[in-house]
């Protein structure tokens, strides 16, 4: 269990206790909403769990690092962006991964693109995003995130 999980649970627990003291009825209402939301999200979460297991089980991340390191130029940046969009890795791990990309010879632009697309775009989590935020926001956000990821990457490649 990492620190984020602990913090979130502490916040939830303390929030719940405070709320209960302040207004019992409303707190129970909150719990009902929480329960309903949980059930609504559950199947999608399970789908993501299976999909992630398959994706990362069949294509281990370190293989990706070696493959990606060998790409170069603008097409390399685009390719890495695409890979980042599809992958599903905790953001914290993305930095050491990006560092190993640089070591394998990838350009600064490629590493930057990788981080931005990896963290901001999620093909696997897209169905959940569409469900929560609606098709328009979800598609626009992921699509434009890809565009700005590339722009940011190219600028960084130019100035660094």
């Amino acid at each position: 269990m990492d620190i984020t999980t602990i913090i979130i649970n502490v916040i939830a627990a303390s929030g719940l206790i405070l709320a209960f003291i302040k207004n019992r009825k409303k707190t129970i209402q909150s719990l009902k909403i929480a329960g309903k939301s949980f059930l609504k999200i559950l199947p999608m979460m399970l789908i993501i769990i299976v999909a992630v297991g398959l994706l990362l089980g069949f294509i281990p991340p370190n293989q990706i690092a070696t493959f990606v390191g060998e790409q170069s130029g603008i097409s390399g940046v685009l390719l890495i962006g695409a890979i980042g969009a599809i992958l599903f890795i905790p953001a914290l791990i993305s930095f050491p991964l990006a560092a190993s990309l640089l070591e394998s010879g990838a350009s600064v632009a490629a590493a930057a693109a990788f981080i931005t697309t990896l963290t901001m775009i999620g093909i696997i989590t897209l169905p959940l995003e569409i469900k929560e935020l609606g098709k328009k926001i979800a598609l626009l956000r992921n699509g434009l995130s890809l565009v700005i990821a590339i722009i940011i990457a190219l600028i960084m490649g130019a100035i660094l």
Binding site: S37, A99, E129, I148
Partner: protein, 178 residues
């Protein structure tokens, strides 16, 4: 209901793939299990927080600080809220949905989600360690700039879409009446 059906389909695909490549079963199940545990520890707490939020925080509060007229203040607040946690992005989706329902403007939500995704203090420290000061600062500044722009752009695009729909609706009614 439909989601459960898709779950069954995906599970069948998984079984088929793993029967074809049995050597991958160990890695796949290990990863899925680990992810499941992570999720089970964090998701209920997040749902509770959202439930409390939905019931206890008045809409007026959100509208005032993150709604249409909140201006620069709203953008800052959105960024700030997004950089606090270091959790995976998909947890932010229900929170963002709750904020929208309460009246936050779309550009701020986009900023919130993007900040959550790739900016947070502990994360930046790790980035500093592995990729160097220049890289970290450059990415941070550029991301902030472009994410804000993207936020407004997306909000504009969604507004145009909705205005077109309303105009179409009005035209239809006019032609029926006359």
């Amino acid at each position: 209901m439909r989601d459960w059906i898709i779950l069954v389909v995906v599970s069948i695909i998984a079984v088929v793939l793993l029967s074809a490549f049995p050597e991958k079963t160990g890695a796949t199940t290990a990863i899925s299990w680990q992810f499941f545990i992570e999720m089970i520890w964090i998701l209920p707490a997040v749902m509770v927080i959202i439930g409390l939020f939905a019931v206890f925080i008045p809409n007026e509060f959100i509208v005032k600080y993150m709604g249409k007229s909140s201006g620069v203040k709203g953008v800052f607040l959105a960024f700030f809220l997004g950089t606090l946690p270091t959790g995976p992005l998909y947890i932010a989706f229900p929170m963002a949905a709750a904020l929208i329902q309460k009246g936050a403007r779309i550009s701020n939500i986009i900023v919130f989600l993007s900040a959550w995704a790739c900016i947070s203090i502990p994360q930046e420290l790790v980035e500093l360690q592995f990729l160097g000061f220049n890289f970290m600062v450059a990415r941070l500044v550029l991301t902030i700039i472009f994410v804000t722009v993207m936020g407004f752009l997306i909000e504009k695009m969604i507004d145009w879409g909705e205005t077109k729909q309303t105009k179409k609706g009005v035209k239809k009614r006019e032609s029926i009446v006359s």
